[in-house]
Amino acid sequence: MIGVLREELILLAPVRIPDQGGGFDIQYSVHDTVRTRSETRGSVFDNVGGRRAGGQTRLFTLRYRDDLVYEMRLEHTGRRYRITDIREEDDRKRYHFVTGEEVRP
């Protein structure tokens, strides 16, 4: 499968800056750039505040890594995704299948 991971995927890790009131400003910094294969899985709408922002859900296949966490963001062809599902191919720790839901700023 290595040969078919032809696309670039940027893993973004959250950086939290405390706000002195128990909350934080959250920014994302580049954690790593990896190879992936991806496919569109569907669409998603962000309806918060009447803002009907459309986006897509996408399945990414990448080499297994032990530092993937749900709070990361994924950047692929200029679009940013929140992780909604992380699965392993099997118990051999070869590949991860990660589903992302597009987010708007």
């Binding site: 706000d19 009131g21 934080f24 959250i26 918060v48 505040g49 803002r51």
Partner: protein, 136 residues
């Protein structure tokens, strides 16, 4: 003559949009909407539900119950509280220009601040009671 509810919305929108205090929190031009565009970015403010009823004792006067919503994706309540406070300061016991009407008085009623079910968005609902009188 323009009706008081629409005149109030135009006046309110213009007044808040032009506030430099609000612009410092929600951008310039201020991200203040009635209908929110799909590409709106957080934080933003919307003009929400309104109720209008007669204001007894003054000919043509109306009492408007207006809600202003604030949406933020800051990791906590800081941003919505700051914006809500600014909206409060701008509207409580304030006056601003209307077409064919005037603001007789404007008072803050309450603010409710909570997290949306998406777990990422914080919302404040602020409510104001504004009485208008016709000028023509």
């Amino acid at each position: 003559m323009i009706g008081a509810p629409w005149s109030l919305q135009i006046g309110l929108y213009t007044y808040l949009q032009q506030s430099t205090e609000l612009q410092s929190l929600i951008g310039n031009p201020a991200r203040l909407y009635d209908a929110v565009p799909p590409d709106a970015i957080f934080p933003f403010v919307t003009i929400g539900e309104a109720q209008v009823k007669d204001y007894p004792g003054v000919d043509g006067a109306l009492e408007h119950d207006i809600r202003i919503h604030i949406y933020s994706r800051w990791g906590g309540r800081k941003e919505v509280k700051q914006i809500a406070e600014t909206v409060h300061d701008l509207l409580h016991e304030a006056t601003f220009s209307l077409i064919d009407h005037r603001v007789a008085h404007s008072r803050f009623v309450f603010a409710d601040i909570f997290r949306q079910t998406d777990a990422e968005t914080f919302q404040a609902v602020t409510r104001f009671r504004i009485v208008t009188e016709p000028t023509v």
